[in-house]
Symmetry: C2
Subunit: 165 residues, 2 copies
Amino acid sequence: MNETSDRGRGGGRGGAREASPTEALCAYIAENGLKHSRQRDRIAEAFFAMGGHVSVEELVARVRRLDPRISVATVYRTMKLLADCGLAVPRQFGGGQTRYEAAAGRGHHDHLICTGCGEIVEFANEKIETLQALVARRHGFEVESHKLELYGRCVRCRSAREATP
Amino acid sequence: MNETSDRGRGGGRGGAREASPTEALCAYIAENGLKHSRQRDRIAEAFFAMGGHVSVEELVARVRRLDPRISVATVYRTMKLLADCGLAVPRQFGGGQTRYEAAAGRGHHDHLICTGCGEIVEFANEKIETLQALVARRHGFEVESHKLELYGRCVRCRSAREATP
DNA sequence: GTGCCTGCAAAAAATTTGCAACAAC
DNA sequence: GTTGTTGCAAATTTTTTGCAGGCAC
């Protein structure tokens, strides 16, 4: 599946044990004079269990299965907290909703989005990253971060279209 | 400034004369059984005169200097129309507002966004495009479109930071 | 006990929509 | 005259905020 510098999805987690997302959150909370709460635990638990690219709406639904009294506002506030401590990354894939993605220990990557079924595949490619830095430098920029999204049709959607044209 | 396949901004408009944006809009309107109107004219006129990456809010302000009675809804509807006929491209650069960019006859390009001063520079790089297609194919995708945004600091902001650290 | 956190409901911000009047063809 | 378009205001959608009470430390 992978030919050259393409890391594909799922990234390697080999090597020294990293703090779990939950632990990292606790650390951040302690270091910043914030407080630990049942709601934050539940929301983080649900978020990391879901994986993928989660909208607040979806997350609320899931969290409420654990604890129906948790409010939307708290979910928004907690996701902002997770974003602040680098455990979640907010993404705007269109559709007007912010989606969050777990970032715990995973390296940088970009996205392939199927315009047919909505499937989102992650990938990383170093050559592209290198070229980006080069182009930026040419324009006098120093890149801090970037966003690359490829929209297209996945294998399944393409064969489906050929089958029923 | 340009070394290899980097087109820089501004793109070349040499060659056979292309229809002006206004003409293209009229053609689209005629072909689709739609109707021409004073409001559409004014909105398109203002939009193409502004250039750059315009928010609906900014556009409304400008359009109302030409014609104070034009409603926000009409501006939204017209921008959707311009997007449908390919004369404008909607962009989400963050900040929750959609910005539109004139696309008339200009080739595809991506964006460099300065996190210091907000400046937006356009660029195009064929090598990156080629690699994108390659990576996508590896994952079984056929790319239809993409979005690449590089966030960083422009020369000016970098020197400013060094001057006052 | 102090100060952060939560739930609720109201507020905001961006965009869409229903509808009657209106304009283009 | 028919049909698409406009303006207005109300509605939607997503996210934020004020505030009183609650919980963590």
